[in-house]
Amino acid sequence: MNNYHLNHLRELEAESIFVFREVAAQFDNPVILFSGGKDSIVMFHLARKAFYPAKVPIPLLHIDTGHNFEETIKFRDNLVEKYGVKLYVGSVQKTIDEGKVREETGYNASRNVLQTTTLLDAIEEHKFDAAMGGGRRDEEKARAKERFFSHRDEFGQWDPKNQRPELWNLFNGKKRMGEHFRVFPLSNWTELDVWQYIYMEDIEIPNLYFTHKREVFERDGVLLATAPFMTLKPNEKPEILDVRCRTIGDITNTGLTRSKADNLKDIIDEIAAERTTERGQRFDDKRSETAMEDRKKEGYF
């Protein structure tokens, strides 16, 4: 009788698939935010499971900062072609060109904050009513209280003090015109769960996650990749090291890890032994202690 039991990954998977189907059923025009990072790749894999044998009926939206690892864009385009899913791209460069935001200047200039405007514009332009993201509650403490179905007002803002309660598996996606939801199917996953799941399911991920030689430099204890649009300070010396990405985002704030891990099992062992969170390597979160909460309120991912 009691062999009817799931391991922790299968239970998380069942929960996430449930959330995907709930979104498809409750919303008219949902979209999956796709960055090309491992979380969004796992999201897409779960979406395929949720709707098999049909194609994933929800399109992807990539908010493109223009500062990408080349490999990410290749990977994205391959995936879109292979699974026949529709892709929308929201361009941060276009938002800048239209004068809606001003690009940061200086050494630590990042387009990460600017993404918010591009995302909200894309949501408005295409009338998306649910944007599904790969955010996890273990990432950062402002996310610990985030809901699976997170309500946003007509300005795209999040009100942490007035969130809808979520009980059992009953999700309330009701909204007024102009409002939308952010939905987080991976809420209960941790970084280690994501890696274990990639291993268990043999999910293809970009080579950036495995060890490779790359020209990098160190800034405030974080290793960053050199790129044409990065300005080095006089004391920063680029060198070629064996590194891999722990997260993949905008190239200007994706910290690299020194690593020789060339397979998933070594990566899992490395993560299990890690002493810093993956966001600890993201340059943008270090700005202030409540950086994430402030950005979320304004409609960040």
């Binding site: 391991n7 299968r10 949720a50 194609k55 209280k145 309660p165 979520e166 059992w168 598996n169």
Partner: protein, 429 residues
Amino acid sequence: MTEKKDTNGYLDMELLRFTTAGSVDDGKSTLIGRLLYDSKSIFEDQIEAIEKAGRNQGKSEIDLALLTDGLRAEREQGITIDVAYRYFATPKRKFIIADTPGHIQYTRNMVTGASTANLAIILIDARNGVIEQTLRHAYIASLLQIPHIVVCINKMDLVDYDEAVYEKIKKQFESFAPKLEVRDIKFIPISALKGDNVVEPSENMPWYRGTTLMYLLENIYIKGDYNHTDARFPVQYVIRPQSEEFHDYRGYAGRIDGGIFKVGDKIKVFPSGLESKIKSIDTLNEKLDFAFAPQSVSITVEDDIDISRGDMIVKPDNLPVQSQDITAMISWFNERPLQVRGKYTLRHTTNEVKCIIQEVKFKMDINSMNKNTEDKEIKMNDIGKIKIKTAKPLFFDAYRKNRNTGSFILIDDITNETVGAGMIVTDKA
């Protein structure tokens, strides 16, 4: 199902969801901090961040409570006001903690955290013994039918690790336990601050022969927590690929809320009452011979019958209750009180119906567990028993029999807010 195995056992772990209810003073945050810290689930940059936050508040030592305090407003007021979810893992299990505040004005948050938990930790300050708040936490755990309760008698270091104090509190708790509907209650004397019996066995309490809290969390038997007797499959979504390969495919997608479904099983569909047989159970990886709660699958049936979202697939020899008259315990979430004769949208499994509140039977005094039949106004954070009439029949079980097919939420049609959470009571159970 065949699963990939690995040498590190990562893929053999179980998932345990537990809730902790407590107030500022009873050491809840310290206990969670201790569990995270001793299981090495706290990262260096998180410690750095709370050290920095502590310095800004003028504190000199590391305050583990800051780790579990999420939002800025809460940090400033020094209280936890919402449900926060925390994660840690040991080689045996992955844990999800629903960390909730303990004061009566946060009853709704405690109910939310309890709704998905397998286990509840109830903290008692050894100096104070069983107090009003203890009763409240125990009542909520019982009402929400959390299968396992662990009563941690904390701050044993402040009562000289005295066995007599522990025994007295245990007896106090056991004296009202018959009023609760809990299958499994365990007691552990601990000091979260000093670490006694949390992760490491205590050298200060040789008289205690039980296990540590961590051992219990890692080993308590949870395979029986899902209902695998009453087969229930609420249809969530209909999959129609309309591709050449799957030309006539109609898959009924959903998450099994109870029982086991096998290929070839006779099934009955509510509300149509039509019967058929299971033709296949499909997932992306493989076709399954059987599926069980809480798996998410897609089912195809032999006959071409009309099935849509909100319908429920069951087996003909084990039917849910079918009725438009619902009696339920309700936990109220909204500033606007429950309106008798008021209309709401009721969401139950994947089904949604309009309903009207007919009557409040009583309001529960959750500090004393007495029923109040005089003042029956159900306000925010109140719990009471109500009667509801729905516009169409629901297919349900008693909440104590099945937490998924026995629960519902009420939604306000004007604000779209979730205003109440209900647990269905039936005559039989």
